[in-house]
Subunit: 305 residues, 2 copies
């Protein structure tokens, strides 16, 4: 028996369309409804047969579903919650895939009905590409999905949502929304902010031309441009909705950077060496934990030899 009778995915971008692909062919839902306000995304999803039914109307999309997944930028949740919550089937689970969780819980709690279950979630997975053609079925394989249920959530419903994520390859962890937002501020939000910033700084240089920045990007810069190519709307909403944690981590980052700057200015070679040596070990631990592959330079040269 399928885990859910009918699942609705609202937002057929990288994450939404990857969930649709991951569900296909597995006994997870009897019926899958997709929704995207962008008619072009609807057409692509239809032609790729990603769902059983596509609509651009969220009110239509949630009808009769027992799992509703929001996969749009978190800035849209207020409006979406207002529209869909009165229409949800009694007993259904409302979840999401947004990269921030405290503000999401606060926003959606305003609209969720007592006879439905709000359990926000965040699959820590993605690429720098966007839209329904960017998704793929194995995106969540071996990646963590964090659920941040409110304190009064029904354990049976949490268990059911865990089962869903596990069925598409994820490992599931529960935490409070506040803790989630702090962990992700350092592991995801700050790295993106720094990457956007350095690419922005490079654009402004007049002494160094843009063609030089591009030509010599293999020296390290190009790695940052990958992250800085992520969806701008999604990331704007992340920073506006995780302001406190991001500003806190940014403060620490800047303090540490000032310290490093002084070490360079005053020729403190040992201090630089010690930091550079310690950071090297973190990479090894990430590879040992299966969170990245053990190939030099992300495997860029593997097809050359």
């Amino acid at each position: 028996m399928a885990i859910f009778k009918q699942i609705t995915i609202i937002g057929m971008g990288l994450i939404g369309s990857s969930i649709a692909r991951a569900i296909r062919g597995k006994d997870i839902a009897d019926r899958l409804i997709g929704c995207d306000k962008n008619e072009e995304h609807c057409d692509i999803s239809r032609s790729l047969k990603l769902t059983d039914h596509m609509t651009s109307d969220p009110a239509d999309a949630v009808h009769n579903s027992d799992l509703i997944i929001l996969a749009t930028p978190v800035g849209t949740y207020d409006q979406l919650g207002k529209v869909i919550c009165p229409l949800l089937q009694s007993g259904s689970i409302l979840t999401d895939v947004g990269s921030v969780k405290s503000s999401v819980l606060k926003t959606l709690s305003q609209y969720i009905r007592p006879d439905c279950h709000l359990i926000p979630g965040h699959p820590v997975a993605g690429t720098e590409q966007s839209g329904p053609t960017a998704g793929f079925s194995t995106l969540f394989k071996e990646r963590w999905c964090i659920l941040t249920p409110p304190e009064n959530a029904d354990p049976a419903m949490i268990r059911k949502l865990e089962e869903f994520w596990q069925a598409i390859g994820s490992k599931v962890e529960l935490m409070t929304p506040d803790h989630h937002d702090m962990v992700l501020a350092i592991t995801s939000h700050l790295p993106h902010l720094i990457a956007y910033n350095i690419v922005g700084t490079a654009r402004h240089l007049e002494e160094v031309t843009k063609s030089e920045v591009i030509k010599y990007s293999a020296g390290g810069f190009r790695d940052f441009t990958r992250i800085a190519a992520s969806d701008p709307t999604m990331w704007r909403d992340v920073f506006l909705n995780n302001k406190e944690a991001v500003l806190e981590m940014l403060g620490r980052f800047s303090e540490d950077l000032s310290d490093l700057q002084r070490a360079i200015r005053y020729d403190e070679g040992d201090k630089l060496y010690n930091l550079f040596d310690r950071t090297r070990r973190i990479r090894k631990q990430i590879i040992d934990a299966g969170q990245d592959e053990d190939v030099p330079d992300f495997g860029r040269h593997l097809d050359d030899e």
Copy 2:
């Protein structure tokens, strides 16, 4: 006819051993001498047959060579220059592969004899791995090698060195050492500094455990750990020897970051969106220029489907 009678590579790390591998089987040198002060590196190079002769003594290594390539951290050049310059064959070219150029030119100019040719160089290529086993023959393919000859350099000798780099797959560009150091400060040195710094900041957090940083690193952080796994000695020497340009770029980066920080604090969504949208286009230009591959997430998921 080979380009050089005998080439000496001092330092059989990632770059030195990659040059040795790239030379092999091509009509570039009649004889190849390798040198490394680390006896283990010598043994590995011997067993991999990377050169015709290995020695740990630089004085021995340069004897009779018409091209000598320094491929050790730039902090070693002063001592090396002092030892080898008096022993160079008349008419030979002394070059290097260091990531900074003004300080290298200044250091080696003290020792180079008038009957030899100093032409510093920098192949903009590499991975985060180190040592003679990390090298591979196609490392320089389609990458740029920058030569920074002194003003009085012999054009025929510059041409010969260009020919060498082209023979192992590089594209060659000439520029002044000062301009090189500024271009690389933004495309390579600052990205490395930022990566080392953010990995350092993550290590210090007490509210977020190290295991959480590792588990959720797929959100962006893991990309930075790759760069922050690069050779610590090499990078210490880069920062100490390109201090002015790095501090200048770091100043601009920090100003831009403060501006971004204010935009987050005061909810300036449009400002964030506009920056994030512009940086996205730089990625496309790097891919169009053949300086990175057009695969999402560095191709990490390609073998999954």
